[in-house]
Amino acid sequence: MKSTQGKVVVSLVLASVVCLLAVDFAEARRGGGRGGGHSMTRGGPAASGSMHRSQARPQRSSSRSSMSNQRYQGSRQAGSRDYAAQRPEPGTANRDNRPEMNQDRLDQRQDNIDQRRDTNQDRYDQRQENINERQDFAKEVHNDREEWYEDRWRGHSYVSVSVWGSMGCSYRRVVVGGVTYYDCNGVRYERVYRGSEVVYVVVN
């Protein structure tokens, strides 16, 4: 009996580990796992405080996005007009409830309801499809752009001003072409504005 219970416990633990790994894997597929290189990440999308993705998109994206928006709005407006045309006249519902209502009218009414329901569903599906298409494309463009920038930015090592101060190297200032560089332990740095922060970026 004890042996069976032990096997059950082991099975549960193994199953839990498998589930957790599956969830982590799903997270990673959704875009996680980026970062590294520093002990603490200080930036990210929330630091931008923007309500929208960056608009710095390649030309192809803005033109397509615009077209997509127009198509989306157009279909939505067209759908509204269709819906209005099919809507029953005010008061018909009350009249339809009279006892003398015949079977034909009841069938017709049911047909109208079914038709309207189908139309609504079609319109909803179409709108959802448009939204998904637009979101997928925007995400793709955004990710392309961000990855490109991240590669460029991460391509250069840098240290913050506070870290620079703690390095304690007796640096040598070198001016080349009007630009001041700092040589420290055989590494050449340039002091630059990296975003909103002053840092020392490695240039050699």
Binding site: C19, R34, G44, A47, G49, H52, R53, E147, W148, T180
Partner: protein, 263 residues
């Protein structure tokens, strides 16, 4: 007996997997745009558009998702002076004490650090909207809530809008405000806009639901001044004599080949 225990174990495992999956799934919202919400946004936009110059302060905090998944909060306090069509003055101080000044004087964009005694300068092209876009995308400078400087804030906020709810009235730091919920294709936004004759933004919370870890940005507004005085000197930057001029670290825009590679 063994059979029952095995069934129980299977059920427990299934329940655990389902609950884990549910935690990672997104909860659906019913898209709907309420006219009351839009009218509040329109009133706020119209009120801001009526003034070419205005001043406000924001205390911002934001989550940064670490590679481990843990979220850390950082914060920056900012004083913003806007003068349309093309001037902007921002003084920012982070919680770690690092301060910086950013000035758009209509011809140049300046960044100045008193602590490091350095400044950088680059050409400013276009109005505030274009200049801010350039600063954010190319110089990678953070200018949170820069939409407020737009002459058409309503259009900016409602771009790609999918949902807008008016959630009722709340009191935010003593100011009765309309509480709105907005959803676009990227983020969920909550706004608190003062009721009455001066419909000014009091608070904003942005949830980046599409981003890993769903980080949040929060900003508390204060000291709105729709008629600031003696602003000219604020938009004029004269570098201190001993300050060193440094460069913006700019990532060049992608070439056509880069774009093709990115496809």
């Amino acid at each position: 007996m063994h059979y029952r225990i095995r069934i129980l174990a299977s059920l427990l495992t299934a329940a655990f997997c389902l609950s884990a999956h549910a935690q990672t799934a997104e909860s659906p919202e019913t898209p709907e745009i309420e006219p009351e919400a839009l009218s509040v946004l329109q009133a706020m936009s119209d009120f801001l558009a009526a003034s070419d110059e205005f001043y406000y302060e924001i205390d911002t905090t934001y989550d940064v998702v670490q590679p481990s998944g843990v979220k850390y909060e950082f914060g920056v306090a900012r004083k913003n002076l806007v003068a349309r069509p093309d001037r902007l003055h921002i003084e920012a101080i982070r919680r770690n004490g690092v301060a910086g000044t950013m000035i758009f004087d209509g011809k140049h964009i300046w960044a100045y650090s008193k602590e490091a005694n350095v400044y950088a300068q680059t050409e400013q092209v276009g109005d505030l909207v274009e200049s801010i876009e350039f600063a954010v995308s190319e110089l990678r400078i953070k200018t949170p809530l820069s939409e407020i400087a737009s002459p058409d804030l309503f259009a900016s906020i409602t771009r790609d809008l999918e949902t807008a709810y008016h959630l009722g009235e709340n009191v935010v730091r003593g100011v009765t405000s309309d509480h709105l919920f907005l959803r676009n294709d990227y983020a969920d936004v909550q706004l608190w806009v003062a009721t009455g004759d001066e419909p000014l933004l009091q608070r904003i919370v942005i949830d980046y639901r599409e981003e890993r870890g769903q980080p949040q940005f929060r900003a508390q507004f204060s000291n709105w001044n729709m008629a600031p005085k003696n602003t000219r000197e604020k938009f004029t930057f004269v570098p201190p004599k001993d300050a060193e001029r440094i460069r913006f670290y700019v990532a060049a825009p992608p070439s056509d080949s880069n774009r093709e590679d990115a496809k």
